[in-house]
Symmetry: C2
Subunit: 229 residues, 2 copies
């Protein structure tokens, strides 16, 4: 199967070029863009909903939802009256830069401060494909278990911040916080970390505050110095 | 990116050939083989542990574990004194037939009744790659949410049985059982379904009984009439 390698490289380098193009469009419009990744059911859409509720008074937020099928998530978010674009990947296990590029004409980038991209529920493939966004966010959750950093190191290394959701059910699961944190620290030292519950709202404010600080930083330095994500 | 398609087809057809080879080896040895798929943290390893505890007195069980990194799961299962082989996929998001083929010489197929393969935690990619096994098992779990059949239809269509784990925390989550079952029924009518809790043991016996019946059926008709999985 060695002959597949150049093609894979081609795809990734093509993806990279389009990711740069997306990034330019974000920066021209002054749009701070984040990409949310997680296992299926960790709470991506819930966190996005809570974020929009907490911050849409201050910032103009837009949303792109990547799913294999259905528009269940996009419909939920559209109810909150933010511009929402649905991408159905047609079975593909991750978003790529071209899917984002095709979605952008449906948004008013010049009238957007924060773009939230929700990736396909998958702890493996999404990190391999840059989208052109500024920050990668991983949502872990208590029921998934404390060994996930060790078992999915690529994902834990590839993100800029971790949200640990479903803290309200911590007592119902054998989740060793120290063991989890230790795994994260080995892979991605000093990473920002927000334990919270989208159900009770506990900890959501700290996450929103982090996002506010990041947006401020971005607006101050006009998109300079961000690694391609 | 149209030029990638023939290569993908090549890979899948090569995979198919090797899957057939695996199947022949299973059937020569009289080994009933199952493939367990799930989201990260749904409880694949816990279900395997419970299955081995409940059935290793009756059947000779062997185990192949697919993980991106670490041997955490294989080590857990090896403690139960069944032959266990670890496959590290090196970042790849699914097992393929060749990985299984390479693992088989490490097992005594002539002295195995049941082979349990644990796939990489992923609700998307694993269904596209036949391994040569006889039955595909999906482990869903309550905390993941009731909308997963609708959002990951490929996975729910590609399996022969569904285990719904973590029933002990049903009351802590907004999980509409009817909605979940309805999604499953649309995609895969009449599918066997086992709600259970690996933590409390509730419902595990019914799952083990299903497996016993399947092994008996397999041993009776010597591997005839099984679709490639």
């Amino acid at each position: 199967m060695a002959k597949t390698v150049p093609v894979v490289e081609d795809i990734l380098s093509t993806n990279q070029k389009i990711a740069f193009k997306n990034r330019s469009q974000f920066d021209e419009g002054g749009v701070f863009a984040i990409n949310l990744m997680a296992s299926p059911g960790a709470g991506k859409t819930s966190l996005i909903t809570e974020t929009i509720k907490g911050m849409s008074g201050e910032y103009r937020i837009a949303y792109i939802d990547g799913d294999i099928a259905t528009s269940i998530d996009a419909d939920k978010v559209a109810k909150l009256k933010v511009p929402a674009v649905q991408i159905n990947t047609g079975g593909q296990c991750h978003l790529d830069a071209m899917m984002i590029q095709k979605a952008l004409p449906q948004l008013e980038l010049g009238e957007t401060d924060l773009l939230i991209v929700e990736n396909v529920g998958n702890l493996v493939c999404p990190t391999s494909f840059h989208l052109g966004i500024h920050r990668n966010v991983l949502i872990a959750s208590i029921p998934e278990g404390d060994d996930k950093p060790y078992k999915y190191p690529g994902m834990y290394q590839g993100v800029d911040v971790i949200v640990l959701n479903k803290m309200d059910v911590l007592d119902s699961f054998d989740f060793r916080m120290d063991y989890f944190r230790q795994g994260v620290e080995i892979l991605n030292p000093g990473l920002s970390f927000f334990p919270l519950s989208c159900k009770t709202g506990e900890g959501v404010r700290e996450w929103n505050d982090w996002l506010r600080t990041e947006i401020l930083k971005y607006q101050k330095d006009g998109g300079e110095g961000y690694e391609l994500r």
